[in-house]
């Protein structure tokens, strides 16, 4: 009896070992090749990993950033006379998968640097991995402060939520002359929760009114029915409704609000700047004001033009999304760092990145602060005739 038990357990372990070695055995071959290759041609090829959610809930955002990186790669395929090779790793909008994808990039593909990911929580999943592996990562649009906080190897080319929230609050208070604001936020979305908090703090500061936020209601990612939340907010008849969240839900919120006969202006963040937001929202989203990274109506740098022309040529939409431009910049920043470092060694790249100062990117001049966060202007846009139209630029130092 007992003997059998022992045997069984031993067997079981042998089994799991066998299964493991068997399957990873299959994996061995291509990898070995991959590694051999990378050993031989390491001299000529520099690998940059695209770490994005191509499938799953954030698939859209990931795809848009991938587009930006590929576009940049098309324009600038070489650095230090070496070819730059892009390696895509889909993190499936899932944290566990994201961690696997990231470690796969650094361990298996031996990339020199990583770009991504759309969605702060996914970037965070890679955080400790790139840190331990000492491979620098540059996020394009991950605006959650936690992404770079206490991690020397994570950078980002976009501004942070605290600043964005402040700008939006200032805009609401000064430009829109709002006294009372209501907030509808996607409570299961770190970005939305953060932005909402920073916004309300700043707004209270600017209005000097403790109860300037008249209502704050929540919804969950994936919800589609918001009439109850909308009613709860409308009841306080605010001057402005601030609704940080994913564009998918947000478009529906605004649509439903208009259907309910509520015409309070809506204010939102960078995530809304997607073609889908306009398509789904239709005329309901007319007049919606958002803060974002960059505007094509108002090219900031030489690079902006280059990017816009290139996009007009190869882009899949008639207008590039901001995150596409940011991903484009992420690639450029890395290339610039490699150039300055004069080597593709990840640590060297990291050090060079940290030094980045007033780099001329498509979305403006990029310098990293001690956290590895870009200090950048915020661009305000309004939806007019189902297009995002440039409104204003607000820079950190004023």
């Amino acid at each position: 009896m007992l003997k059998k038990k022992g045997i069984f357990l031993i067997a079981l372990l042998v089994m799991s070992l066998l299964v493991f070695s068997a399957c990873s055995g299959d994996k061995e071959k291509p990898q070995e090749q991959a590694q051999e290759n990378s050993q031989q041609v390491d001299e000529e090829v520099i690998k940059i990993g695209i770490f994005e959610p191509i499938t799953g809930a954030n698939g859209a955002g990931g795809a848009m950033e991938e587009e930006g990186v590929r576009l940049a790669n098309k324009l600038y395929p070489e650095v230090l006379g070496k070819k730059v090779e892009l390696v895509l790793a889909d993190n499936k909008s899932d944290k566990v998968e994201a961690a696997n994808a990231a470690i796969r990039l650094v361990e298996q593909e031996k990339v020199n640097a990583i770009i991504g990911s759309w969605g702060s929580s996914l970037s965070m999943a890679a955080g400790s991995i790139v840190k331990d592996a000492q491979v620098p990562a540059v996020a394009a649009s991950a605006t959650n402060p936690l992404v770079t906080l206490g991690n020397d190897y994570y950078f980002r080319v976009c501004f942070l939520d605290p600043f964005q929230g402040d700008v939006l609050a200032r805009y609401a208070a000064e430009k829109l002359g709002a006294k009372k604001v209501a907030i509808i936020k996607e409570v299961s979305n770190d970005y939305a929760v953060g932005l909402a908090k920073f916004f309300s703090d700043a707004f209270i500061k600017y209005t000097g009114d403790e109860n300037a936020i008249v209502a704050e209601v929540n919804y969950q990612t994936g919800d589609q029915e918001f009439s109850a939340q909308i009613q709860a907010v409308a009841k306080e008849n605010p001057d402005v409704i601030f609704a940080p969240g994913n564009y998918t839900e947000s478009a529906l919120i605004i649509k439903q609000a208009r259907e309910q006969g509520i015409d309070t202006p809506f204010l939102g963040g960078d995530t809304w700047e997607t073609p889908e937001f306009l398509q789904i929202g239709g005329e309901a989203v007319e007049g919606v004001v958002i803060s974002t990274f960059f505007s094509q109506d108002f090219p900031i740098t030489e690079e902006s033009k280059v990017f816009l022309d290139a996009y007009a040529e190869h882009g899949q939409f008639d207008e590039p999304a901001a995150v596409t431009a940011l991903a484009y910049d992420a690639y450029l920043v890395i290339l610039d760092a490699i150039e300055r470092a004069g080597s593709a060694d990840p640590v060297a790249i990291r050090d060079a990145l940290a030094e980045t100062k007033d780099f001329e990117g498509a979305t403006g001049y990029i310098s990293f602060d001690e956290n590895g966060d870009a200090v950048k202007d915020v661009v305000m846009k309004v939806v007019k005739d189902n297009k995002f139209v440039y409104l204003d630029t607000i820079s950190p130092n004023n």
Binding site: L2, K3, K5, G6, I7, F8, L9, I10, A11, L12, L13, V14, M15, S16, L17, L18, V19, F20, A22, C23, S24, G25, D26, K27, K29, P30, I54, T55, G59, L88, D90, K95, V96, A99, N100, I103, R104, E107, Q108, S121, M124, A125, G127, S128, N144, P145, L146, L149, G150, V187, S188, N189, D190, A192, V193, G194, K197, N218, Q220, T221
Partner: protein
């Protein structure tokens, strides 16, 4: 008694040998998959206890995993890490200063998950079949929703990051301490469940699965036994959750959607409801397969890269297995020698076939 000690010593010896071998040969990526596989083994085996052996269709596993993960995380983080993470809304005072070592934190994670299992099981285990399924699934979702909204405790959807990983195993500093912890936990889980189901209580659980009325007529207190099964199952789920949090070094509520429960349920069914060895094998295989199938996404054999193709293939494989081996890999049998030899051959073939 003596013989048991000897056998368990042998087992442990072998495990150590295997782990030695693996952790020296495998790179971090494979090592990570190995750890993940171990954690999924814990999830699958524990879920099998309530679903496979007791025959109660309970789908709240993700919730218990979440409880374990969060408990562990909040206990092991030191106050600096916490103040870094809780930059929006400060953490409730009574948690801000606690700072436990790895092992006690993991165990506490299990205990609280077990408690959750008790609180949830007590009311809903009176329900049967699909009603139980939907009710437990609901509880899983409720737990998640609560964690999303209680920001001052869980940091809500911002999640928690920089969760420390153990640097030492049993006070011995070593490179892959975590792998050792995980697989120790796996061994303990497997042995525990194996001993449990082969004990008189295990027989009672099986009796409940076979025929509740008859079991009751034989003097088995059905409710008590169901609740026990639920509590133990959720305890180990919590342990697994704690380990998952440590492996991920970051967690947030969205990790614990009911799709996680489904994934585990799939593993259990593939391995065979009521077969511990089955769960172990299928957990390992599925975890590895999921990674291995990645090449499908990257575009292969001249095909362009098709994001998501991997999942299509995976779900197809899954359907095929369910359709052609409805009882799973092992049914409710356990591994036996001749089975092993069969497997042995099968898995030895595999690499060769691939080489061709």
């Amino acid at each position: 008694m003596k013989r048991k000690i000897i056998t368990s010593l042998i087992i442990i010896g072998i495990v150590i040998a295997i782990l030695m071998l693996l952790q020296n040969t495998l790179d971090n990526f494979k090592l990570r998959i190995l750890n993940l596989a171990g954690i999924y083994v814990i999830f699958a085996v524990s879920m099998n206890l309530i679903n496979g052996f007791t025959g109660q269709l309970a789908l709240g596993h993700a919730g218990f995993i979440a409880v374990g993960a969060y408990t562990y995380t909040l206990l092991v983080m030191d106050s600096d890490l916490k103040s870094m993470n809780f930059f929006l809304e400060p953490i409730v005072p009574f948690l801000s200063s606690v700072h436990w070592p790895f092992l006690p934190a993991v165990i506490m994670g299990g205990l609280l998950a077990g408690l959750a299992g008790l609180l949830i099981g007590a009311p809903v285990l009176r329900l049967r079949g699909d009603y139980l399924a939907i009710a437990t699934l609901g509880f899983g979702e409720i737990i998640r929703t609560v964690f999303t909204n209680t920001q001052s405790i869980t940091n809500g959807s911002l999640g928690l990051k920089a969760i420390p990983m153990p640097k030492s195993f049993l006070f011995i500093e070593m490179k892959n301490a975590f792998t050792w912890w995980v697989w120790t936990a796996v061994i303990i889980t497997v042995i525990f469940h194996f001993l449990l189901v082969s004990s008189s209580y295990g027989r009672a659980l099986k009796a409940i699965r076979e025929d509740e009325k008859a079991a009751e007529a034989m003097g088995v207190n059905i409710f008590k036994h169901k609740v026990w099964a639920m509590v133990i199952s959720s305890f180990f789920a919590g342990i697994g959750g704690a380990l998952l949090a440590s492996l991920m070094t970051t967690i947030d509520p969205l990790m614990f959607r009911f799709t996680l429960t489904f994934n585990i349920l799939l593993i259990v069914v593939l391995g065979g409801m009521g077969s511990i060895s089955g769960s172990v094998i299928s957990a390992v295989v599925v975890t590895i397969l999921m990674e291995w199938l990645r090449f499908l996404d990257q575009g292969f054999m001249g095909l362009p890269e098709i994001p998501g193709l991997r999942m299509v293939v995976f779900s197809t494989l899954l359907l095929l297995v369910v359709l052609f081996y409805p009882r799973g890999l092992m049914g409710n049998e356990e591994l036996s020698w001749n089975k092993i030899t069969k497997m042995f051959q099968r898995f030895h073939m595999q690499p060769r076939e691939v080489r061709k």
